[in-house]
């Protein structure tokens, strides 16, 4: 009964690794963040980070196989008087494991196709951590605090 952020996720999605489902999942994320009080820009950013992370699992983890499982777990904390809204998303797979040092995008000053996903994820989220799951697969934990009113852009939040 005494739920905390450490317990069961508030929303957990298990999906097959089919890129055609990415649109649905990022719209889920955008809808949830919008309702807990993230501004429009932050909603788009979180949706983008989740999309990039899922695309990486499908592309690199599962070598584009589209029938493997991916789990997206979401914890939400709405804004209250003291603090802005807060989101945690964990993405898990059963794919091959990689060392954190191999999780690097390309040099941003050398434009060539690819190598941007991780940069985008690290840029838009507050915390980004990859760990190995036991016995197999990777786990990506990402968090973001909604910017407080005085930090965010002047445009009002709009329905997604």
């Amino acid at each position: 009964m005494n739920q905390t952020m450490g317990d069961q996720p508030h929303i957990r999605v298990e999906l097959l690794s089919d890129p055609n489902y990415l649109a649905g999942v990022r719209q889920l994320i955008a809808g949830v963040t919008q309702r807990i009080g993230f501004d429009e820009k932050s909603c788009s950013q979180v949706a983008l980070a989740v999309d990039e992370a899922l695309a990486n699992v499908i592309r690199h983890g599962y070598s584009r196989a589209c029938d493997r499982p991916i789990w997206v777990s979401v914890w939400t904390v709405p804004a209250n008087d003291e603090a802005g809204a807060y989101l945690r998303v964990v993405i898990e797979d059963e794919a091959r494991q990689v060392d954190t040092c191999d999780l690097q995008g390309r040099d941003l000053d050398d434009p060539k196709p690819g190598g941007l996903g991780l940069h985008i994820i690290r840029e838009v989220m507050d915390e980004v951590e990859y760990t190995k799951r036991s016995p197999r697969g990777m786990r990506l934990t990402m968090t973001k605090h909604a910017p407080r009113a005085d930090e965010s852009a002047p445009d009002a939040p709009k329905e997604g």
Partner: protein
């Protein structure tokens, strides 16, 4: 009956790419591509094919009008970076226009807003040299 049944590679179900609707206009000898909808991993291959064909078709200038694209991820960016390279090699002037604020934000994170020739409107892009 089921997309997940499509067998493409031994022992694995491979994805089926989704088609991205792209309108193709020709204005003053310039080819204008107007993709419509999100450009993500599932649609980037279709987008890539459209852009590749436009660049190889012989027009001196190709404009990609992104005004009907409200979402693009790094798959879309990768497609555009590759297109820019191909265009240079084929001596085709490649320009982008109509970027939504959200899409421009992704170009900026990837530090690609300087790499591309970006104009506000199709007219600007056609007029630009």
């Amino acid at each position: 009956m089921n997309r997940h049944r499509t067998l493409r590679k031994k022992g694995e179900f491979q994805m089926q790419d989704a088609a991205l609707p792209v309108r193709i206009d020709s204005l003053d000898g310039v080819t204008v591509l107007v993709p419509r909808g999100d450009i993500d991993m599932s649609r980037a291959p279709s987008f890539r094919e459209h852009v590749r064909r436009a660049i190889n078709a012989g027009a001196p200038k190709v404009v990609i009008d992104l005004s009907e694209v409200e979402y693009m991820d790094s798959s879309g960016l990768a497609t555009l970076v590759e297109a820019m390279r191909n265009a240079k090699q084929a001596s085709v002037a490649l320009m982008l226009c109509g970027l939504h604020q959200k899409v421009l934000a992704i170009f900026e994170i990837a530090r690609l807003h300087q790499f591309f020739k970006i104009e506000a409107t199709v007219e600007d892009a056609i007029a630009a040299s």
